[in-house]
């Protein structure tokens, strides 16, 4: 039986010349892999979706337009409810994160497709992107006043250093938790799917081998596993949407921290 981890193995599809980052001797293998192909497909699907959606928009929307506008207003409401009027400015970023992660998650659920968001490199990059944006906006808007984010107001003076350290630590852990949450959910879901799918094959093989009543047991087990795969796929569909939403809402909250430095709006 193939290892359930094999689905995460990066494979090169088109080899491209290496790229050396100027000033360092670090080279980047720019080959198109199954992971980057999945990203390309997701980005292409998104571009096609929105190109069609906004090509000839109707004031009275059709079904397709209702779906697209539903996603749009969903994230728009999220951004404005968390960030207030500032939400509009950061909306394109949040919306891009949400739709890109969602598309990669969903495309990964199609059997045989690669799930780019199950790659730690991908989730870490997205999380670090969000985190650096928070740092840049925070220090650009508030300067050193951004550190006030780590000091809750109305705190007795002796508690300040301790809480500052705790808050700073939790702040620095944000990119870690943000990336690991998405990565872990995608990894776990796909491993579970693969394990159950493996059961179907293994138990089906046992049914064919027959003998000692194993035949019926094998068939029953394979059917049960098939049911498990179907149920898990439904669950993973939910997880794929939910994790994209969680990523988007946390991005929004972190951006709001950067914009307000913890002082509300």
């Amino acid at each position: 039986m193939a290892s359930p981890m094999e689905q995460f193995q990066i494979k090169k599809i088109v080899d491209l010349p290496d790229f050396t980052i100027p000033g360092t001797n670090y080279t980047v293998d720019m080959a198109i892999t199954n992971s980057s192909l999945a990203m390309f497909v997701a980005a292409g699907a998104l571009i096609l979706f929105f190109a069609f959606l906004t090509a000839s928009p109707k004031v009275v929307p059709g079904r397709f337009q209702v779906v697209g506008e539903g996603v749009f207003t969903f994230i728009d409401d999220l951004a404005t409810s968390v960030m207030g009027h500032e939400g509009r400015k950061y909306f394109p970023f949040i919306f891009t994160i949400f739709t890109f992660v969602l598309t990669m998650n969903l495309l990964g659920l199609i059997p045989g497709n690669f799930t780019a968001t199950s790659q730690l490199a991908v989730t870490v990059t997205l999380a670090v992107l969000v985190f650096s944006l928070v740092l840049i906006i925070g220090f650009w808007k508030h300067g050193l006043g951004f550190f006030k984010l780590f000091v809750p107001s109305g705190l007795p003076l002796p508690m300040v250093p301790l809480l500052f350290l705790i808050e700073l630590f939790s702040f620095l852990l944000r990119p870690v938790t943000l990336s690991l949450r998405l990565f872990g959910n995608m990894l776990g879901g796909h491993v579970a799917l693969k394990v159950f799918a493996g059961f179907i094959v293994a138990l089906g093989g046992m049914a064919f081998a027959g003998g000692f009543g194993l035949h019926n047991l094998g068939i029953a087990g394979a059917v049960l596993s098939m049911g498990g795969v179907v149920a898990l796929t439904a669950l993973e569909l939910l997880v794929a949407c939910l994790q994209a939403f969680v990523f988007a809402i946390l991005t929004t909250i972190y951006l709001n921290d950067a914009v307000t430095a913890g002082h509300g709006h």
């Binding site: 981890m5 928009p57 991908v122």
Partner: protein, 183 residues
């Protein structure tokens, strides 16, 4: 081009780093990160420059259309209300006019009736007066006849009683005296 481990595993299907998670093969991180950032940047620019403004425009247009329609409906409603008010006022006015006209007609009819009545009364009174005059005349005539009859009768009675032929003048005086005595 090829990471170091692939050269050691050439020609095998077996994944490298057997046992560990493939996600921790750091030699593949660089390419994924770069491609992801490139695609993300492309998507971000398309979203922020093209798709999001387009969708906002549609949503704003829709909101505007709905607001306009609501405004128009409200205006139409107000107009209808004003019209209904005007109609009601008109009806009330018409009713008042009708009442006035009715009252006027009634008054006119009453006046005409009274005039006619008066004229009729006048005519009847005149007739009555004329009749009274006529009656009085015929009565007087009758009364004078009575005087003549009485004197005739008295003349006859005197002649019968006395055998003397009384003159008409005596008889008339007697009759007048009797009539006076009786009266």
């Amino acid at each position: 081009m090829a990471p170091a481990h692939e050269q050691t595993h050439t020609g095998t299907e077996e994944p490298p780093h057997e046992g560990g998670l493939p996600q921790f093969q750091l030699e593949y991180w660089g390419g994924q990160i770069v491609w992801l950032l490139l695609l993300f940047t492309l998507l971000y620019f398309l979203m922020s420059r093209v798709f999001v403004p387009r969708m906002r425009k549609v949503l704003d247009t829709r909101a505007q259309t709905i607001a306009d329609a609501v405004e128009q409906a409200r205006r139409a409603q107000d107009e209808a209300k004003a019209m209904a008010e005007a109609g009601r006022a008109e009806v009330a006015e018409a009713r008042a006019a009708a009442q006035r006209a009715g009252a006027e007609a009634k008054a006119r009819a009453n006046a005409a009736a009274a005039k006619r009545q008066a004229a009729e009364d006048e005519r009847l009174n005149a007739k009555m007066a004329e009749a009274e005059v006529r009656i009085r005349a015929s009565r007087d005539k009758a009364m004078s006849n009575v005087g003549a009859i009485a004197s005739d009768t008295a003349q006859a009675m005197i002649e019968k009683l006395t055998g003397v032929k009384a003159t008409a003048a005596d008889a008339a005086a007697l009759a007048a005296a009797t009539a006076k005595g009786n009266a």
